[in-house]
Subunit: 119 residues, 2 copies
């Protein structure tokens, strides 16, 4: 029950596509991640996923369109919807999603991460 | 699946202690609220609750201590823990909690809100 400072936590790592856990509640995790480049197309069978942009500009590609998400904005990707996060320059995001969520969903990719670290 | 801008949504209302819903995922709601003054002591039997401060300085009182939460910081209050949010000046917060959560928990208060509006 201590305050968590997003900027301070984001200083603790620099690698991309490797979310860290910073909070847990109601079976959900709060995560922070740094994104750069194009991720893999994927979807999550069971989990809705929220991306809140802390810094940078996130392009969330869907099969039929792309949404641009700016700092202070969030976007929710419902379960089952194919999406691909793209960051032309580094983007820092806060993620809210079920603790069971795997970053690559049902797709295979070398950037798949399981057993995320707490910071 | 559209981006939601927190500041734009916060411009749509001015009353205090009356959260609005701005997103839903995995049985949880994302809410925005403006707080000013002292709320009622309460706890939530089943629900953990996250407060992310967007602007202002939030004092989260617990029975044994007080935590100060600044913009860009969040605090998680676990189910069953008595707490009282206090805002000496107006505070804007994003809340993340189960859709079932009532703002006053198990306490009675005229500021109790049910059937929250979506904005």
């Amino acid at each position: 029950m201590k305050p968590v400072n997003l900027k301070e936590k984001l200083k603790l790592f620099s690698d991309h596509w490797n979310p860290r856990i910073v909070g847990a509640l109601n079976g959900q995790h709060v995560k922070l991640a740094k994104l750069e480049g194009e991720f893999v197309w994927h979807s999550h069978t069971e989990e809705d996923e929220l991306f809140l942009v802390v810094s940078g500009e996130l392009k969330m590609e869907f099969r039929d369109r792309t949404e641009t998400v700016q700092p202070g904005e969030f976007i929710i990707v419902p379960a089952g919807v194919e999406h691909r996060p793209v960051a032309e320059r580094e983007v820092e995001v806060l993620l809210f999603e079920p603790a069971s969520t795997i970053n690559t969903g049902g797709s295979e990719d070398p950037r798949k991460r399981e057993d995320l670290d707490w910071i």
